[in-house]
C-alpha cells in the first residue's frame, strides 16, 4: 500500500452545525487518512458525528476547523468524484427506471453520454445482479434491491471514493448480511476505495479493513484499528471494541457478551 500518498486526508476536522436553538459540535479535531483500495469504516454510537463527517467529506458542509483533502485538493463542494450511497430508500429518482437512474448519473455529471453510458450502466447493474430489473421503476423494487441500485450507480461513476452512509441500516437482518457479502465480493472484483459509516460493530468488522472508532458528544477519535480476518479474531475484536466504546458507561458490559 502506498503510504506516502493518501487518497483522502481528514486533518483536524471540527464540524459544527446549528439547530433551531443550539450550536452543536458534531466532531472535534478528527483526523484520519484513507488510502487507495481501502475499506475504511467510521464506527461509533449515534451522536458521534460519523454521518456528519461523511457529509463533510461529500462536500455538503464545510468544516469550521481543519481541512479535508481528496488527492491533495481541498474539498469545497459536492462532486461526482465522491459518490454517496445513502441509507434512505428514496435516494433513487422515482421517475427513472433502474437503468435510467444509473445512466442519468453518468450523463448529468458529464462522465459519459449516450451508448457508452448505457453500456457502463448495464455492466454495473449486472454486477449487482439486477439485469432482470433494469427496466423497472424503483417503487417496484424491495429495499435491498434499491440499495443495490444505489451501489451500482455509485460504482458506475467510478469515483475516487465511494461514501456509504449506513446503507444497510434500514434493511432486515438477513438481507443486510447478504448485502455485506455482496459488497465484499464487489470490492474483491474492482478494489474501489470505500468510506463506510455504521453503528454496528459486527458490520464494521465484516465490511471494513480499517476501523476508526469515534466517541460521542462530540465525536472524537478513540482508536484506529485494523479489522480481523478470522472468525475468532473478529469475536475478540468485537468485544475489545465494545469495551472501548462502553467502558466508562457500563464497566461490566464486556462480561455480559
Amino acid at each position: 500500500m502506498d503510504t506516502d500518498h493518501p487518497l483522502l486526508e481528514v486533518d483536524g476536522v471540527t464540524l459544527r452545525y446549528k439547530t433551531r436553538d443550539h450550536l452543536v459540535t458534531a466532531t472535534y479535531r478528527v483526523s484520519f487518512r484513507v488510502f487507495p483500495g481501502d475499506r475504511f469504516v467510521l464506527l461509533g454510537p449515534s451522536g458521534c458525528g460519523k454521518s456528519t463527517l461523511l457529509k463533510a467529506v461529500g462536500g455538503y458542509m464545510a468544516p469550521t476547523e481543519g481541512e479535508i483533502r481528496l488527492k491533495g485538493r481541498p474539498v469545497t463542494q459536492p462532486g461526482p468524484d465522491r459518490m454517496m450511497v445513502f441509507q434512505e430508500f428514496d435516494q433513487l429518482l422515482p421517475w427513472k427506471t433502474v437503468r435510467q437512474n444509473v445512466v442519468f448519473a453518468l450523463e448529468a455529471s458529464g462522465r459519459l453520454t449516450g451508448k457508452a453510458a448505457r453500456e457502463r450502466a448495464d455492466l454495473y447493474i449486472d454486477k449487482v445482479h439486477l439485469t432482470r430489473f433494469a427496466d423497472s421503476y424503483p417503487h417496484t423494487l424491495s429495499g435491498g434491491m434499491k440499495q443495490r441500485v444505489a451501489i451500482a450507480r455509485g460504482m458506475a461513476m467510478e469515483p475516487d471514493i465511494l461514501l456509504m452512509d449506513e446503507p444497510f441500516a434500514a434493511l432486515d437482518a438477513l438481507t443486510r448480511r447478504r448485502m455485506q457479502d455482496e459488497l465484499l465480493a464487489l470490492w474483491e472484483g474492482t478494489r474501489f476505495t470505500v468510506l463506510f459509516v455504521t453503528h454496528s460493530i459486527p458490520e464494521a468488522i465484516k465490511v471494513g479493513a480499517r476501523i476508526l472508532l469515534l466517541s460521542p458528544h462530540p465525536g472524537e477519535v478513540k482508536a484506529e484499528l485494523n479489522s480481523a480476518d478470522t472468525p475468532e479474531a473478529a469475536l475478540r475484536l468485537e468485544s475489545r471494541i465494545q469495551q472501548m466504546l462502553f467502558a466508562e458507561e457500563i464497566p461490566e458490559a464486556a462480561e455480559n457478551v
Binding site: 461529500g58 455538503y60 463542494q77 459536492p78 462532486g79 461526482p80 465522491r82 459518490m83 454517496m84 445513502f86 434512505e88 428514496d90 435516494q91 429518482l93 422515482p94 421517475w95 442519468f104 448519473a105 448529468a108 455529471s109 458529464g110 421503476y137 424503483p138 417503487h139 417496484t140
Partner: protein, 316 residues
C-alpha cells in the same frame, strides 16, 4: 429464570453438602425431534391446490371502475327521464331525451362546438398566462427568501378571493371583452398552481437534492432535472385544481357578459337561451360544460397521471 450458578463458592456449613442447583426442567434435546418437510403435493400433481385462477367474467367487469360509473350514469339518466316525463313541463325541467336532442341539434348546426371553442380559446389563453405567472412567482420564491415571503403573502391574500368577485373591476379596467375574462382567469389559476407547486418543491426529500448535487448539478439544472420531476405530483395537482377553478370561473364570467365581437362562449349561450325560454338548449349548454369538464379532468389529466405519477409510484 432461577439463580444462575455463581462463580464464587458460597460459604456453607461444613456438615451439610451444598444442594445441587435447581435448573429449570428442560426436556433433553433428543425428546423433541426436528421436523423437515418435503414440499410435495402443493407444488405438483393433480392434487395441487389452486394457486392462481382467473376471476369470473362478472367479477372482472365489476372491477372496472369506468363500467361501474357508466352504470351509475345510466341510472341517473333514467331517473331524470322519468321525472321529466312525470312533470311534463319543458319550460321548467326538460326530459333527458329532449336535452340530448337539443344537444345533438346544437352539435349538428355547429352552434355548440363554436361556442365551446370560443370558451376554450379564452380559457387556454388565461390558463397559459396563469401558469406562466405561477412559475415566475414560484421560481422567485425558491430562489430568494423575499420571493418566498411575497408568494406566501400574495397567495394568503388572493387565494380566498373568488375570481368572479374581481369581474366588476376587470370590466372597468379592460372593458367588455376577452381582456377582462383573461384577467379573472389568470387570477383564478395562478394562486392555486403557485401554492401547490411551491409546497411541492418544499417537500422534495433532502436526500434527492443531495443526490442531485452529488452529480454536480446546481442552479437551473438542479431545478430542471431533480426538483421539478420530484415535485411533479404536487405540480400536477396544482394544474388540476387550477383548471377546475378556471373552467368554473369562465362559465360564471360569461354568464355575466360574454359577447365580444359577436360570438360569446358557452356561458353566454346558456344565458341567451334562458332569455329566449329555450330551456332544453339551456340544459344542452350545461351538458356541454359538464362534458368538457369531464373530458379534461378524466381523460387528459387522468392519462397524464397514469403515465407519470402512478407509473413512478409517486402519488401525492
Amino acid at each position: 429464570m432461577s439463580s444462575a450458578p455463581l462463580a464464587a463458592p458460597i460459604p456453607v456449613p461444613p456438615a451439610a453438602a451444598p444442594p445441587a442447583p435447581t435448573a429449570p426442567a428442560r426436556p433433553p434435546v433428543a425428546a423433541r425431534p426436528e421436523i423437515v418437510h418435503e414440499l410435495g403435493p402443493a407444488r405438483s400433481g393433480a392434487a395441487a391446490p389452486v394457486v392462481e385462477k382467473p376471476l369470473s367474467l362478472f367479477e372482472r367487469l365489476y372491477n372496472q371502475s369506468w363500467l361501474r360509473k357508466l352504470v351509475i350514469l345510466a341510472v341517473l339518466a333514467g331517473i331524470w327521464e322519468a321525472y321529466g316525463r312525470y312533470l311534463d313541463n319543458d319550460l321548467l325541467f326538460p326530459t333527458f331525451s329532449a336535452t340530448v336532442e337539443a344537444f345533438f341539434r346544437g352539435i349538428a348546426d355547429g352552434t355548440l362546438p363554436a361556442r365551446a371553442w370560443s370558451s376554450l380559446k379564452v380559457l387556454l389563453m388565461g390558463y397559459a398566462a396563469g401558469v406562466a405567472l405561477a412559475s415566475l412567482l414560484t421560481g422567485l420564491a425558491i430562489a430568494t427568501r423575499v420571493g418566498t415571503d411575497v408568494l406566501e403573502t400574495l397567495t394568503a391574500m388572493f387565494n380566498p378571493l373568488p375570481a368572479i368577485a374581481l369581474l366588476p373591476l376587470a370590466l372597468i379596467w379592460f372593458g367588455l371583452g376577452n381582456g377582462s375574462l383573461i384577467f379573472v382567469l389568470v387570477h383564478s389559476v395562478t394562486w392555486a398552481i403557485a401554492l401547490n407547486t411551491h409546497s411541492g418543491f418544499l417537500s422534495v426529500s433532502r436526500t434527492l437534492t443531495m443526490v442531485g448535487r452529488n452529480y454536480g448539478l446546481s442552479g437551473p439544472r438542479l431545478i430542471g432535472k431533480i426538483l421539478i420531476p420530484a415535485a411533479f405530483p404536487a405540480i400536477l395537482t396544482g394544474l388540476k385544481v387550477g383548471w377546475a377553478f378556471a373552467w368554473r370561473t369562465l362559465i360564471a364570467a360569461e354568464l355575466v357578459f360574454g359577447v365580444s365581437s359577436g360570438s360569446g362562449g358557452l356561458g353566454w349561450f346558456i344565458f341567451e337561451n334562458k332569455n329566449m325560454l329555450d330551456i332544453p338548449n339551456v340544459f344542452a349548454g350545461l351538458l356541454t360544460v359538464i362534458l368538457i369538464g369531464l373530458v379534461v379532468e378524466n381523460l387528459i389529466f387522468q392519462t397524464l397521471e397514469t403515465r407519470t405519477v402512478r407509473r413512478w409510484g409517486m402519488q401525492a
